[in-house]
Symmetry: C2
Subunit: 371 residues, 2 copies
């Protein structure tokens, strides 16, 4: 496995594009399209929020057959809490994209992120979809990576090669504070050949070890989703969750998850928490997440104040079994990254979690998100 440059279009047969269709007042890119020249095996993981964006409902339905060929994704409007009209709009987005591409409507996945409870400005979307289909190219990956962003300060891309297979990913997401309400999107492409059910299994496992560790389950946004498209054009067939390609997908997810944490709203640094010595992995993850979610610890991290009471308090609030006699911890504090290691002394369970510091800018960004 080696890490290479380029973009979401690196795997064989994929093209992409991103442009500004006017959803963002700033004039920044806000509409992205990722396309495979042949239908792909596809898998997805969605928000567990009771309130689901209309695009989530549509994409979930379209993924039922384990197939997809394109992802149309806009930022600037979440198309959530927009009623039946909004559901119709999400469906129309898949239809417009399918028609323009000459593919089947239910092979188009759609995602939206941005403000909630505002109608989608469909005239802009209609123009935008026509234009973005025309703009598809091998060089369009960077614009696609930019067009899915909201409060992110930078694009998040990665490409890895495993033999003749390429796996690429882009993501957006910039709110890691619990409860994490800021939408997280990640799109992964590969030219490996993977059966849909195996692909879903690989994705579930990868998400569990990556995106789910930067955000606790019950705090997902209304629009979170992770998609992986595998078009098989490398002719390499993947047959197990332990394969090197599966590991590459895990690596891509972990990389993007950390990038999301590092680019948390207002964040100046990444906080990595490693827990060992737990009764089991579940309790280890619970402790790791509780530490990354503590606003007091996050603020102390920002202020370079190594106040170890923050770790003790966070661990103590969990129900995880701790052998306080053997309990050990360490907090390496830096300007760009903190690494906190905790050993609960109670077993062999381990977990990692990623978060970011809490800063003035987080408050600033969220005090006037819509303005």
């Amino acid at each position: 496995m080696k890490k290479i440059r380029v973009s979401i279009t690196s795997p064989k047969g994929f093209t992409a594009a991103g442009l500004a269709c006017g959803l963002k007042k700033s004039g920044k890119l806000d509409l992205a399209l990722i396309y495979s020249e042949v239908p792909c095996a596809a898998a997805g993981v969605f928000t567990s929020n009771q309130v689901k964006g209309n695009p989530v409902i549509v994409s979930k339905a379209n993924l039922k057959n384990g197939q997809a060929q394109a992802i149309i994704s806009n930022s600037g409007n979440a198309n959530t809490w927009t009623g039946e009209k909004g559901l119709g709009d999400a469906l129309e987005m898949t239809k417009l994209t399918a028609d323009a591409l000459g593919i089947t409507q239910n092979n188009v996945l759609v995602t939206s992120t941005g403000v909630i409870a505002k109608p989608m400005p469909m005239p802009k979307i209609r123009q935008g979809i026509k234009a973005v289909v025309k703009a598809l190219s091998k060089q369009g990956g960077e614009n696609a990576a930019k067009a899915i962003l909201t409060t992110d300060t930078r694009k998040k891309e990665i490409v890895v090669k495993v033999g003749k297979v390429t796996v690429a990913g882009i993501a957006k997401g910039s709110g890691m504070i619990e409860p994490n309400m800021c939408t997280m999107h990640a799109f992964i492409t590969t030219d490996a050949e993977i059966a849909p059910r195996l692909l879903q299994k690989i994705l579930n496992k990868a998400v569990q070890k990556s995106f789910n560790l930067v955000s606790v389950d019950n705090c997902m946004s209304t629009s979170d989703c992770v998609f992986v498209l595998a078009n098989g054009l490398s002719k390499l067939r993947v047959t197990s969750c332990e394969s090197r390609v599966a590991q590459a997908i895990e690596y891509v997810c972990e990389y993007l998850a950390k990038e999301i944490a590092r680019d948390g709203e207002g964040a100046t640094k990444l906080i990595t928490v490693k827990v060992s010595g737990a009764r089991n992995n579940k309790e280890a993850a619970q402790v790791a997440k509780t530490i990354t979610n503590s606003p007091l610890l996050k603020a102390a991290s920002y202020g370079l104040d190594k106040n170890v009471g923050r770790i003790l308090q966070a661990v103590g609030t969990t129900k995880a079994k701790v052998n306080w006699q053997k309990f050990k911890f360490n907090w390496q504090m830096g300007k760009k990254e903190d690494v906190i290691t905790v050993n609960l002394g109670a077993g062999r369970g381990t977990a990692m979690a990623w978060g970011c510091d809490l800063t003035y800018d987080y408050v600033k960004i969220n005090a006037a998100y819509r303005t």
Copy 2:
């Protein structure tokens, strides 16, 4: 029931004092004593954090017989994660207080709040306890109310009268962000006569409807505690949880809980959340707390940005049953207070919760708490 001025010493037979014994660098008051001239029925509620301050361990043991006569409380040092030495220090504080007052050692409750994992400067404490016992007076309530504060911006006091009975309370607490790691202390005195078991029952019920709604259970600090002392000197005997005196204790708890929320670290306003239409009261409380704990909603409240998406997302992240067809909500936003009402349309359960906005000052306070 009427609300009157004065202090924790208003009920018959209570005196108090507060002074600076040098625990706080600022020179502010940091040692408080509350004393009843006769032994009291006493009840307490303590933190559920796995890590418990040494004073919590000692006070819990001393409350087992349902009796107490004095509370010695310091700010500036939490005496937590200080090992056996710290446990000895907490015990010594009760002994010094008991000896100076000429009362039984296990009738003294002790609480400490402040920095964690630093040894108690016992020479200062020893001098301080001698002085604070000498300073006891009917007028000392205000100083006691000040001496228990840490990052609070103002003291929190209340006195209510029910017939010939007086109920008074003071509290400290200034961190309402989840996970709530900032210590909350509340001390309530009354001259009503109440059997210890009934008093504990009344207190549990009152805490459930007040302090527990400004902070979720598993997020309590290592040192949280609420005490009530009833010395019986009014000669009025309370025999039920539904009595007017029990209601007065509830009222005092609710008042102090709201004061704590309103004075949340860096807060500019109180956020009151009223949930109705839940399947049961428990689910209603879960939704109310989730809303008050959302940093995105809290930041929006600070920015006077009525972003209703924040309410939808918070409700959606809970597991509470919601009838989305009947779901209704309203957000009254003001400069001093927000009131959010939510009807889940799924039943008759109701709950309230209190929180505060998230501001630059919260980050500032916690980025350099110890400096």
